[in-house]
Amino acid sequence: MIKHIFKLIWNKRKSNALILIEIFLAFLVLFAVLSYVTYNFRMLTEPTGFDTKDKWLVNLESFRQKDSVDIINLRATLKSELSQMENVESLSFTGFSYPFSGSTSSTSQDKMGFEISTLIGRADIDYQKAMGLNITQGRWFTEEDLTATYPPVIVNEIFMEEYFPDKNMLDSIIIHRGEHRIVGVLDAYRYKGDFSENEPTAFYLEDVDSKRTSNIILNMTPGTTVVYEEKVSKLIRSITKADNFMISNLEKSRKENASDTWIPMIILMSMCGFLCINVALGLFGILWYNINKRKGEIGLRRAIGAHSSDIKKQFILEIIILALIGIVLGVFFAIQVPLLKLGPLEPINMYYAIAMSAMIILVLVTFCALQPSWQASKIHPATALHEE
């Protein structure tokens, strides 16, 4: 049966070649778009490591303009006054690695005999509580850490996996930007957004007089409105005597940040969807036309005893085999990308994309073949042969 179908395909190789090219190209388009989409969806399902609901962010520009004593006083006042506010549940001072800040501070050193590159976060002892970070080993910074012999550092799990795999490094001293004791491990901290890569990150404890932590995270009571924001704004203004600060809602920032990825993705997917419809309609038209032209052949087969389901099976199998040839051709080219590491994405995304593209094309092609072959199987041998 299969052999016979191959023969049939070969006999009509000229018109089949075009269908083959079309399936091959459709596969490549699907592969490219789905690789990107798979990558993004896999990123989306991973935890970012923090909460954004009811979190407000205050960027204080004025911190850079004061000397250390001023900053200590200012911070102390801000902290006590803000935490006394009715709707503020907790707050924390942090550096520029707050969620969606768009800034990056990184370091790369080989003091330990191998290269360690990490993103740097700076936060105070309240940051974990304010942001809802998940500690998987050890603990977050505490008051005692400020005076500890070795300054503490908290890293994320990917940091551990990459540089100290299969070792328990809790309470060990690592030499990275000086000697630091690892006091805790976070599950993740993907502060660049829902779609960002999970990168090794190290948190350093910032002292109270730091000029680097000029941002405040406010953890608000659920349901606090923008009207309340004015109160917060007035209070901060009365303390800092300056107007150049901004309050933003982290949940809103998260959505804005995510839409930067969603929009191109939706555009690409709808373009791809339209292409699929286009190809499907085209294929449907061609199949319908071709099968109609083969009435004589169908009539003859029916006359010598083929069942109508045999006819249906033959046509559907014919197109599926044709599609499979196209897919194999496509897979051959597509697989080079992950194998030769040509693309910017991780290979696993592309393998998923290859599998999904093959599935989509097979489903599409079968769907297109159903109606025409059903029609073909309904042909009465007498009418079919009469035409010839």
Partner: protein
């Protein structure tokens, strides 16, 4: 003749309605996507106000300070010199690690070092990071400010609906004046005109509105600001020798090689005193063109020229596939359908039509068909652009239709039509009269 062709094409189209629908659907949607793509590219990279001279601009967003740590390894060695044992020490200096910090720049650094470069016509510095919250009637207005010098208005070509930009003397004197966008005028004053000489209070200062500009329909963040203010009014008591909050954009002299100008800017950075900050020992800048920065944002590579070339390859590859696929689909359809008409061709040939005549007729029919699809696609694109613009799905970007855009689309249409018609028509014109007439469908 032409009339005959059109008549014939129309007959053919209306004969098999389902196939006509498939064909027109394919053509119109493909053209819609291509037209949207051209419009998008035009909006992002075309020369539109206020960035008419985009191709001459070089952006220097930040400065990077590097610290290279070196390790000295002394090796004590004994050697025999003239039969006597001597100690010999060698030192090996190896790179031990590095750290770097990147930030926007200090205004004095920019003014002192990067003004009046040879290949640069004009340059502007600005800080668009800051913003102020203003609470009016229980709602919040976030005013995005842009502290700029007066060169800003020459490098960029904003359309002033009212008033004027601030000039050199305004900037030199730190005049409290502002140019605002019509969107801010709407939010703050509730109207889009007659706002000159009104006051806006931010940062405990009263700024007098002297100009009103249209909010540009671009995505470049440097230009999407609500309020432009002379940068000399910004107070900074804390100063770093390198870091600050300013970005610089250079406009090169016309016909200057951008890569050469970039080189000049990079070399200028090397002439700055490298040791003003004890934590670092090297100063580096990475100026880039707008398109390079754009590509770097999407596909990050340290070297932005590489980002751009990777992006270009991906976009062209995808575009090629997106065009090729519908074209092959159409060729496929046409090839199978054209068999229907072999008898017609046989008759025409029998009456003396040449291969060329047949070819012309079929290509003409295809062009008519694609143009029809193009018209439908054009209406679809207008609807799509209207939806995108009114829903603000693309952020601040406004898609537009202009005459260039129309010509591009028309060209795409024709290429499409000829491409999809050529192969089947050529195949058909080659058919022998006898074979063509043999078909019983006459």
């Amino acid at each position: 003749m032409l009339k005959n062709y059109i008549k014939l094409a129309w007959r053919v189209l209306s004969r098999r309605k389902f196939f006509t629908f498939i064909t027109l659907f394919g053509i119109s949607f493909t053209l819609m996507i291509l037209m949207l793509f051209t419009s998008f590219m035009q909006a992002e990279f075309g020369s539109r106000a206020p960035m008419k001279n985009q191709s001459e601009l070089i952006i220097m967003p930040n400065i990077t300070l590097n610290m290279e740590y070196y390790d000295t390894i002394p090796t004590i060695d004994t050697t025999l010199i003239n039969g006597v044992e001597k100690f010999d020490t060698t030192y090996q200096i190896t790179e031990d690690g590095n750290s770097n910090s990147t930030s926007s720049m200090d205004s004095d650094l920019l003014n002192n070092s990067f003004r009046e470069l040879e290949s640069i016509k004009e340059e502007t510095l600005f800080n668009n990071d800051a913003g102020y919250d203003v609470y009016l009637n229980n709602s919040k207005i976030n005013i995005k400010t842009n502290y700029t010098d007066h060169h800003f208005w020459n490098v960029f070509n904003f359309e002033f609906s009212e008033g004027r930009p601030y000039d050199k003397s305004d900037v030199d004197h730190g005049a409290q004046v502002a140019v605002i966008s019509d969107e801010l005028a709407m939010k703050y004053f509730g109207r889009r005109n007659n706002v000159l000489d009104e006051k806006i209070e931010i940062d405990d200062k009263q700024y007098q509105v002297i100009g009103l500009v249209e909010t540009p329909g671009l995505t470049i963040p440097y230009l999407i600001s609500d309020m432009f203010i002379p940068y000399t009014t910004a107070e900074t008591s804390y100063k770093d020798p390198y870091f600050g909050s300013y970005t610089m954009i250079f406009q090169t002299n016309p016909n200057t090689d951008l890569q050469k100008a970039k080189g000049e800017i990079e070399n200028t950075a090397k002439t700055i005193d490298q040791n003003l900050n004890p934590d670092y020992n090297e100063v580096e800048v990475r100026p880039a063109t707008y398109t390079e920065l754009y590509a770097k944002m999407i596909y990050y590579d340290q070297d932005e020229t590489k980002s751009l070339s990777v992006m270009k390859r991906i976009v062209f590859g995808l575009l090629l596939l997106f065009i090729l696929l519908p074209v092959i689909n159409l060729i496929n359809l046409n090839v199978s359908r054209i068999m229907d008409r072999s008898s017609e061709i046989g008759v025409r040939k029998a009456f003396g039509a040449t291969n060329k005549d047949i070819l012309t007729q079929f290509i003409f029919e295809n062009i008519i068909q694609t143009l029809l699809g193009g018209v439908i696609g054009f209406f679809l694109v207008i609807i799509a652009i209207y939806i995108f613009n009114s829903g603000k799905y693309l952020g601040t970007m406004r898609l537009g239709i202009d005459y260039k855009f129309f010509i591009y689309s028309l060209l795409i249409c024709l290429v499409f039509g000829v491409l999809s018609g050529l192969l089947p028509a050529w195949k058909m014109s080659k058919t022998h009269i006898v074979n063509a007439l043999k078909s019983k469908q006459l």
